[in-house]
Subunit: 428 residues, 2 copies
C-alpha cells in the first residue's frame, strides 16, 4: 500500500537528520493569535447564496441509521496486505490521524481476528461457566442482562501495536504505527458477579475465557484480575457490540493486552493453574535477546503518540499557529502528564490534557504552537499515575533487545519538513 | 404508526389505575442473586459446536467502516408521521430504550430539520463573523482548525422533547416521549477565541448564529453565553459531524435548548439587542394560560426518564431480578441524585448513578430490584447540583397551563403489568 512505504531506517538517514539541524520553532503559545489567516471579505462562498442554502435537503426518513458524509469517505480502517497471509487472521488499523477526543467511533475501531468475524444470533448465544466451581452455569443473553451492570471507558490496545517499529522507523503514518488501539464506553456485567453465582472453589486461581469464533481464542487470566475490574460486556458506545468486536458478548480486561479481551465469549473455565495455550506461548510472549521469553506480559504500559501533524496528516497551511494533537494512555491508570518536544527531545513542553481523564482510558493532549516554518522533530512522552515515564525506543532495545514485536511503548518521532510533509524517523 | 397509539389519557383510565392498587414490589436489592435463572446444563447451543465456531468468517477487509449486526436492524431512529406535514421540516427520535451508558452513537442521534439536510463540501464552507466587531472575519475549515480546541461531553435536547405529553400520556414509548435528546463528545473551538479575534465592540451584547441550510435557522444568543462555554464544533464522538447534525460546522450551546445549536453554521452576527426572529417568537416560546408567552426559555432544566423497562422494552423474563435503567440530565450542571419509585411516587429509592458524571451531560442510573410480579408504577425524579428537583407534570400544569408544548421536564410514569407489558400512563 502506498501509505506504508518503508523509510528512515538507515544510519545514513539518521545522520542526515542530525546534520539538517534540529527545530528552532518558537516555544508553545496559548490562544493562537490568528490575524492574517482569516480570509479577506468578498469570498463568493460566503457573500453569495449557495445551492444548499437554496433548496430543501433530505428529510428525517432518509437514514434510520446514519452514516458519515460522502466527503469523509477517506476516514476508514486500513490494513497492510504484506503483514499477514490471510485476511481472516489479520489486523486493520484505526485512523487515529482523522480522530479527535477520547472516544473511537464503533465503525472505526481496529479489528484483529484469528479466524474471521463470527456472525452470531444473540438468541442462540450462550455463556458457560465451568471447571472449579460449585455450580456449573449456562447463561442466555437475557439472563446476563438481569445482573447489575456498569459503564466504563477503557482503551483496548493490541500487544503488537507499534511492533513493526522495534527495528526502526517503518510504517509511514500513525494509523499503521499506533492504530491497533481504540477507546469506547463498555456496558456489561462485572465478571465477579457471575463467578460469585457459580461459586469459585478455593483452588480456583485462574480462568480461561474461550471465544465462539473459528479460532476458539483462549487466554489464561489470574482470578485476582477476574474478580477485580473485568466486565462481560454486551454494549460499546451505547449500542450493541459490533460483530467484529465480539457481538453479542466480549470479555473486557481493563489495561491489559487486547487479545485477552476474548470476543464472542462462550465459556469461562475456572482452573488451578494457567493453561499455556498457543496464544500465550508461541504468540504474545516477548522473546528477549538472550533467547528466553518474558511470560505473561499483561499490562499495556504508559504510551502516547502525536496524531496531528503526522505522515498521513501533513501541515497544509504553512507557518504560523499550529495545533499539535495526540493521544496518551496507560494500563496502570490515569495519565497525569504529557510532554511534547518539537526539537527531537532536547526541550520538552508540558502539553494540555483536555477532556475527561479516566483510568485506563485514552487521554487527548494538545500543544498549540506558532510554527516558524523550520524543520520540527515532534515527540510526545507520557507519564502515568504510577510515575512510569514512557521510554525511548533505544532504552527499550537496551533492556529487551530486538527479537520481540510486542509491548513497544517507545517514544515516536515525526519529522515535519519545511514544506509541511511529515515522515516517520528515528534520531540517535 | 403502531408504536404510537394514544392511550391512558382519560380520567376513567386514571381511576382504573388507582383501583388496581399500587405496586407491592419488594425494595431494591443490590447484587441480584440469580439462582434459578441460569439455564440447566445440557443446552446443545453450548454443548455442541456451532457453525460460527466451525467456519472462517469475514476478514479485515470486509468493512472499512463498520456497521451494526443484522440482528440489530430494529435499533433505528423513528419518526411519527402524523406529527408534522413534511419530512424536511420534521423530527425523528433516538431509540433510548435500546441504548446504555451516556454516549449516543452518531448514527442514532435524533434529527430535527427545518429545511432538510444540507449537503456541504467542507472545502466550500465558510464561517463569517460580522456586525458589531472591529474586524469582520471569514474563516475556512482549515482556519478554524488552527485555533486551540476543546473536547466536551454535552447532551442536546430539543425544547419540544416530551411536548406531546403536556395534555396527558400520549406516545407509547420513551423513544417518542423523550427521544429528542442525544449526548456525544464534541470537539471544537471555543467561540470566545473567534470573537476575540474579531474584536467585539462595547455595544455588542448579542450574537445571531445563522445556518447554511434552506431554513437559514437563526437564534439570538446573549454575548455572556457566547463568551462562556459555547463551542464551534467540527467533530462528534471523535469523527466529523454527521450531515444531519450540521456537517461540517455546528454551534454548541451547552445546557440550552437544541434549536439554538445552529447546524451548518455559516455566520455569526454581533448586535446590540435580540433579533426576535421567527424561531424565537412564533416558535420556541412558551404560551402561558393567561395568553402571555415566556420569552427566552433557554436552559433545559433537570429531567430524567426510565428507559428500561418501558413500552417498547417490556419485561420478558417474568418475576425475580430486574434491572431498571434510565437517563438523567440538567442544563444547569451535574445531576447529583436520581430517585426511583416503583409504586407511583409513594416511596422513593435512591438510584445508583453509574459512569462518568459530567456537567450538562447525560447521566446513567440504575435500580436493581427483585420483582414480585405485581403491577409496578415506575417513576424517576432527578435532582441537579443547583438543588432543582424534577417536578411532576401536575405541578408544571399548575404553574404553566397546557398551552405550551415546550420545556416539559415532568416526571414520567410507566405502568408495568403482571404480564410484563408496559404502558405510558398518568396517575393523579
Amino acid at each position: 500500500m502506498s501509505n506504508t512505504k518503508v523509510s528512515g531506517t538507515s544510519p545514513i538517514n539518521r545522520r542526515t537528520l542530525l546534520k539538517a539541524g534540529l527545530a528552532t520553532g518558537t516555544a508553545a503559545v496559548a490562544g493562537g493569535a490568528l490575524t492574517g489567516t482569516a480570509r479577506a471579505d468578498g469570498d463568493p462562498l460566503i457573500t453569495e447564496i449557495q445551492d444548499w442554502n437554496r433548496y430543501l435537503g433530505d428529510g428525517v426518513q432518509a437514514r434510520p441509521y446514519g452514516v458519515p458524509s460522502e466527503f469523509e469517505a477517506h476516514v476508514v480502517r486500513r490494513d497492510v496486505e504484506w503483514l499477514t497471509a490471510s485476511t481472516e487472521s489479520s489486523v486493520n488499523f484505526t485512523p487515529l490521524h482523522e480522530l479527535e477526543g477520547i472516544i473511537t467511533p464503533n465503525g472505526l475501531c481496529f479489528e484483529r481476528h484469528h479466524g474471521g468475524i463470527a456472525e452470531i444470533d444473540p438468541a442462540n448465544h450462550r455463556l458457560m461457566i465451568n471447571g472449579l466451581v460449585d455450580k456449573q452455569l449456562v447463561f442466555t443473553m437475557e439472563d446476563l442482562k438481569r445482573f447489575p451492570r456498569e459503564n466504563r471507558v477503557y482503551f483496548l490496545e493490541c500487544a503488537a501495536n507499534s511492533g513493526m517499529e522495534w527495528r526502526g522507523a517503518q510504517l509511514n503514518g500513525c494509523q499503521y504505527t499506533h492504530g491497533m488501539i481504540h477507546c469506547v464506553v463498555y456496558t456489561g456485567v462485572p465478571l465477579k458477579y457471575l463467578l460469585q453465582e457459580a461459586g469459585v472453589k478455593t483452588n480456583g486461581k485462574w480462568i480461561l475465557p474461550e471465544g465462539a469464533d473459528a479460532a476458539a481464542m483462549t487466554r489464561s487470566v489470574p482470578i485476582e484480575k477476574a474478580l477485580d475490574d473485568c466486565l462481560v460486556a454486551f454494549k460499546m458506545n451505547g449500542e450493541a457490540l459490533r460483530p467484529e468486536q465480539g457481538y453479542p458478548l466480549r470479555l473486557v480486561v481493563p489495561g491489559w493486552e487486547g487479545n485477552m479481551w476474548v470476543k464472542w465469549l462462550r465459556r469461562i473455565e475456572v482452573g488451578d493453574e494457567p493453561w499455556h495455550h498457543r496464544e500465550e506461548t508461541s504468540k504474545y510472549t516477548d522473546l528477549l535477546a538472550n533467547g528466553k521469553s518474558r511470560r505473561f506480559t499483561w499490562v499495556m504500559d504508559v504510551k502516547s503518540v502525536i496524531t496531528n501533524p503526522s505522515p498521513q496528516a501533513p501541515v497544509t497551511h504553512g507557518k504560523g499557529p499550529l495545533v499539535i494533537s495526540g493521544v496518551a494512555w496507560s494500563g496502570n491508570g490515569r495519565v497525569t502528564r504529557v510532554d511534547v518536544s518539537i526539537d527531537g527531545g532536547r526541550n520538552w513542553h508540558t502539553a494540555r490534557i483536555d477532556g475527561p481523564s479516566l483510568p485506563k482510558a485514552m487521554h487527548r493532549f494538545y500543544l498549540d504552537i506558532d510554527w516558524d516554518g523550520s524543520d520540527l522533530l515532534l515527540q510526545s512522552r507520557a507519564i502515568d499515575e504510577m510515575g512510569y515515564v514512557q521510554p525511548t525506543k533505544e532504552e527499550l532495545r537496551v533492556s529487551r533487545g530486538e527479537n520481540s514485536i510486542y509491548h513497544n511503548n517507545g517514544i515516536q518521532t515525526w519529522h515535519v519538513k519545511t514544506d509541511g510533509t511529515v515522515e516517520n524517523v528515528e534520531i540517535s
